[in-house]
């Protein structure tokens, strides 16, 4: 979201009488905290009762996905999404109610269940400007193939770093940093852990009979399996119906 200010898009939007808002399913306290800490340059709005989402859905603007299973946030007791957490979406609305741009993330394993990239700020703004300059009253169609700000990790690679974060016993999600976090670890720091783990198995293979190592490998898979099943249940993989 910071890219809207950094790229100058925020200033251009405001110059034309528009405004940008970040919308979250968290309470306002956490929304305000995020806006300050992330220095996004525009207001963040807490919508824990999903009322803004309901307005957007009810008027046919965009139906934002949300996930009611917050089980992977087990280490974040302060996290609060009373009706489920929003998946990313972007919707631009003219004061007449016309949709200028819309995109929603359909959470799938291929986009890390919603943790993947969002449409670029400049790309989104170009589309909004194009709609603003049209005389038509027709709503902009849902953007199904936007230009994204980054390339998503594949699901197996994403799972691998989640497993490494949980010390190869139980996948553990990567929350964004908060002031009170004691043990913030970045996804990028996980690959050395993976190499170390693979190295450990190679050493075992050199030191122990193959049958023993095979037995240990089976035991590890058995220990890991419940966590893998759990994460597949918690993370969304939705069909895109429309």
């Amino acid at each position: 979201m910071r890219s809207y200010e950094k790229s100058g898009v925020l200033e251009e939007i405001r110059a034309l009488g528009g405004e940008v808002f970040a919308i979250t399913s968290e309470p306002q306290s956490l929304a305000s905290e995020a806006a300050t800490d992330w220095e996004i340059g525009f207001p963040a709005v807490g919508d824990p009762h999903h009322e803004i989402r309901s307005t957007c859905k009810g008027r046919g603007w965009v139906d934002v996905f949300y996930n009611e299973d917050c089980g992977h946030l087990r280490n974040r007791p302060w996290a609060s999404h009373p009706k489920g957490y929003y998946q990313p979406a972007v919707v631009a609305l003219h004061k007449s109610g016309r949709v200028l741009y819309r995109w929603r993330c359909v959470p799938k394993y291929s986009n890390m269940s919603g943790a993947g990239a969002r449409p670029e700020a400049r790309y989104t703004w170009d589309h909004i400007q194009s709609s603003l300059h049209k005389d038509s009253q027709v709503d902009a169609a849902l953007d199904r193939e936007p230009q994204l700000g980054a390339k998503d990790l594949s699901w197996p690679r994403f799972l691998l770093i989640l497993v490494a974060h949980g010390w190869f016993l139980r996948p553990k999600a990567f929350p964004l940093a908060r002031r009170s976090d004691p043990d913030r670890v970045s996804p990028g720091a996980m690959m050395p852990r993976v190499y170390g783990f693979v190295g450990l198995w190679l050493v075992l293979l050199l030191l122990l009979p193959g049958l023993w190592v095979g037995g240990l490998l089976l035991l590890w898979v058995a220990l890991l399996l419940p966590g893998l099943i759990e994460i597949h249940r918690q993370f969304q993989n939705e069909p895109d119906l429309f």
């Binding site: 979201m1 809207y4 939007i13 034309l16 009488g17 528009g18 405004e19 940008v20 808002f21 970040a22 919308i23 979250t24 399913s25 968290e26 309470p27 306002q28 306290s29 956490l30 929304a31 305000s32 905290e33 995020a34 807490g46 919508d47 824990p48 009762h49 009322e51 803004i52 989402r53 309901s54 307005t55 957007c56 934002v64 946030l73 974040r76 007791p77 302060w78 996290a79 609060s80 957490y85 929003y86 998946q87 990313p88 979406a89 972007v90 919707v91 631009a92 609305l93 003219h94 004061k95 109610g97 200028l100 741009y101 919603g114 943790a115 969002r118 989104t124 909004i128 603003l132 929350p175």
Partner: protein, 126 residues
């Protein structure tokens, strides 16, 4: 669990009102009481007791657990001396803001203020 104020026992009306005034004075806020968390209905107000107040000031809400101690007659206007019980937030629903209903007209309010608005839905602080 958050208790509905409409069903508040008469004996607790005074302490709850006194607790609200005490918090507002102490924190220089203008909170309104929107609920009580984990309320025990058989509280004897002649003995020390605690109440968890759910307070909202516009968009922002907070929870405060207050310890009430009955004071000697004439010692205080409310009839209680009060202290805040620390670190109770993890056990009660502190982050309830904004109250339900406040966002239902929010989009229309913004559309009335601006030529256009851009809403970026995000997954939250976690």
């Amino acid at each position: 669990m958050v208790y509905d104020l409409a069903d508040l026992p008469q004996t607790l009306v005074g302490p709850v009102s006194a607790g609200l005034d005490w918090v507002n004075t102490r924190e220089d806020r203008d909170y309104e009481l929107t609920g009580l968390a984990d309320l025990e209905l058989d509280i004897d107000v002649a003995e020390p007791f605690e109440l968890s107040l759910i307070l909202c000031d516009g968009e922002t809400c907070a929870a405060r657990r207050i310890a009430f101690t009955p004071s000697q007659p004439g010692y205080s206007k409310s009839g209680f001396s009060m202290t805040q019980v620390p670190d109770t937030e993890p056990d009660i629903p502190a982050l309830l803001d904004p109250p339900e209903g406040l966002r239902s007209g929010w989009v229309d309010e913004q559309l009335a203020k601006f030529e256009f608005i851009l809403l970026l839905y995000y997954r939250g602080r976690w």
